[in-house]
């Protein structure tokens, strides 16, 4: 025996100390022991902390209001919005749209079907608002004259058919030489700085980055509460059914198996369409979906752990059934539950997205990854960034959870710390 004792005491000092210290210190010291797993846990922990801070303080990170239309629609990430400029006859004295206020029926030339029309409409609305606030007593009233090409529009302006032409500066600039009498304004008619958006804008001109940041809150809230609800119901039921087998177990297993056999999303759709839309109902629907998963895993594990010799040994020492359940079976079952939990959080976010997609989840203007994905999916050919970034966030959160779950179970599970 003495030899065995010595052999084990040959472990390095720090490793022997490791067993004697508290959880936090152990975690810090453990990086020498666990190597890569430790870094996994730390990295995913930092990642998740960041994501949680996004969810708690989205206002600090988000540059814009996620519901506000802050820019032109479908702007690619980093792309500058198009500049619409005024072209006038030289010497007309008109430098900006404001200068046209108060004049009757100004005819403005634009290209048919170009985004200039909406830019012009926005600008008109904004200028009239400013004039009203300034009590100027005048207003801007524009009448659009539509041309097929910008060339025709400029020709019309040169011929005096319209007073001004509004168009993209990039298109007008090369043509301007052909019309010596025309001048182009320097400023964009929208009056906004020509800023770009880091992750682009969506169909409604909302900032994708801000929506993603605000969406973190909803995603985590729903993902977590659904997984926690499912765990809180499924795990005790599984433990009870596995430990006291009998008619209750049979009935429970029957119910759970029939729930499990439903395709997930369809069951969630059925439940939400009965309960109605809304955050809490979505959580209930998704939790119902995952209860059988926990139940089945925990029940199976309980049945197998129940047969272990150490449970029998505990019985032979007079342990009560409840303490066998809580001290012997539950701790040996929990590692598999942690893994399912991390997967479920991610899956719940996706299911919620699916529900919101068909209109059974959250209100459509909610900044939510699922809704963004659903909306962006229709525009996939024109705007790749609409689905990419919400999707990436789901991947990151999923990855963070499963990395943390796996590596924590490696570090904290004494059975796996061998060697």
């Amino acid at each position: 025996m003495a030899t065995a004792e010595r052999a084990i005491d040959q472990r390095p000092q720090w490793q022997r100390e490791l067993d004697q210290v508290g959880l936090l210190r152990r975690f810090l010291m453990a990086r020498r022991w666990y190597g890569a797993d430790w870094w996994f846990a730390v990295l995913s922990g930092i990642l998740l902390l960041f994501i949680f801070s996004l969810a708690i303080f989205p206002g600090l990170y988000a540059p814009y209001n996620p519901r506000a239309e802050v820019g032109p629609a479908l702007l690619a990430p980093g792309e500058l919005p198009p500049t619409f400029v005024l072209v006038t006859q030289e010497g007309s004295g008109v430098a900006s749209l404001q200068d046209l206020a108060g004049e009757e029926r100004i005819r403005i030339g634009i290209v048919r079907g170009s985004p200039a029309a909406s830019a012009l409409r926005d600008a008109e609305g904004r200028i009239n608002e400013e004039l009203r606030e300034a009590n100027a007593g005048v207003s801007l009233r524009l009448r659009n004259e539509r041309y097929d090409t910008i060339d025709e529009a400029l020709a019309g302006l040169a011929a005096g058919e319209v007073a001004v032409v509004v168009g993209l500066s990039s298109e007008i600039e090369p043509l301007l030489e052909q019309y010596p009498g025309l001048a182009m304004s320097d400023e964009s008619i929208t009056g906004q700085a020509t800023r770009s958006f880091v992750l682009g804008t969506n169909q409604l001109g909302q900032d994708v980055l801000s929506r993603i940041i605000w969406g973190t809150r909803i995603a985590l809230l729903i993902g977590f509460s659904a997984a926690v609800f499912a765990l809180a119901i499924g795990v005790p039921l599984g433990l009870i059914a596995g430990f006291w087998s009998g008619p209750i177990e049979r009935v429970l297993t029957l119910i759970m198996d029939s729930l499990y056999s439903f395709p997930g999303l369809i069951l969630a759709i059925a439940i939400t369409s009965v309960l109605g839309p809304g955050m809490f109902n979505v959580v209930i629907a998704i939790a119902t979906l995952y209860v059988p998963t926990y139940y089945r895993i925990v029940r199976g594990q309980t049945i197998s752990v129940k047969e272990e010799l150490y449970v029998e040994a505990a019985e032979s020492l007079g342990a009560k059934p409840l303490s066998i359940l809580t001290q012997y079976i539950f701790p040996n079952v929990i590692p598999s539950v942690v893994v399912i939990f991390s997967v479920n959080v991610a899956d719940a976010i996706l299911t919620e997205a699916g529900l919101s997609f068909i209109g059974l989840g959250l209100p459509p203007d909610t900044p939510d990854w699922g809704i963004d994905l659903a909306l962006g999916q229709r525009m996939l050919r024109q705007a790749w960034w609409l689905v990419t970034f919400p999707g990436l966030m789901i991947v990151i959160v999923t990855l963070g959870f499963s990395m943390l779950g796996e590596s924590l179970s490696e570090i904290l599970n004494p059975r796996l710390t061998e060697n």
Partner: protein, 336 residues
Amino acid sequence: MANQKNGTLLTVENLSVRYKTRAGWVSAIDNVSLEIRRGEVLGLVGESGCGKSTLGKALLRMLPPSSRILGHLWFDGQDLMQLSDSEMRRIRGKRISMVFQDPMTSLNPVQRVGDHIVETIQTHEPKVSKEEALERAGELFDRLGISRSRLKDYPHQLSGGMRQRVMIAIALALKADLIIADEATTSLDVIVEAQIIELLKELRDEFNLTILLITHNIGLVAELADRILVMYAGQMAELSDVYSVFKEPLHPYTQGLLNAVPNIELDDTEELYIMEGTTPDLIEPPPGCRFHPRCPYAMPVCSQLEPHFQPARPEHYVHCWLHEEIPAEFRQEVSA
């Protein structure tokens, strides 16, 4: 000490255990009656499947729900069979405890070994604080030759021999009156096994332990036990003190069992004795003596009538017609 030795600790009276299976009722233990005396080591030997472990578990009433236990277990003036489940739980660990066969799996992998002992102590003595219980565990560890620092280890950090020491420490934690050692050294290698046997011997003398030593290792019994009970097919075959059994085994089965022990001095010409046949089907055991199909001395009476378990000599009980007066009608058949 002397009168303690003589006192009876546990009386097993007509104990029968039946299991319900699809094929029918298996009679795993048939009508076993014996006494375990205070301070003795009773060796229980037999082939695999002869009911040794079932008997051990039956003493703690730890058999699966599909089984039926009949008979009485008189322990300290009360019949264990009449106790409620919660009363029985108070006996387990406190009065009778068990050391299991496989030390590798009989400790909870997610509980520190010290906590195993603390939990056992606190289950039965709720007033004891955790520190006190840990101190007692430390004392036990000192005594059993494990360093105190290992109290905080998890089971996987210990070797097989150490785990078995921990199991013994748990069994000793509450100074149980009776320790049932179910194949306690079987899964250990011979050197560690020898250490554990040595330890058990010391502890027996030191704590005046009463041990029911269930094993198929005859050598272990010879080393440790005071008395030996040989079981065959759920029945008692022979019961006596170790010396008389080894010197002069009366039951043919015991003789076969002793011959089947490998001898290190066996030379090439000698072959290891192999007993003919296998253990009988316990759903429909052979009529008469259950051993008669394998018995080299089988007589006509053996397949007809069951012998009685009675003393052939003082304190030497045997279950065989060779040592009992054969009823008249069979005697005539033989002579005719």
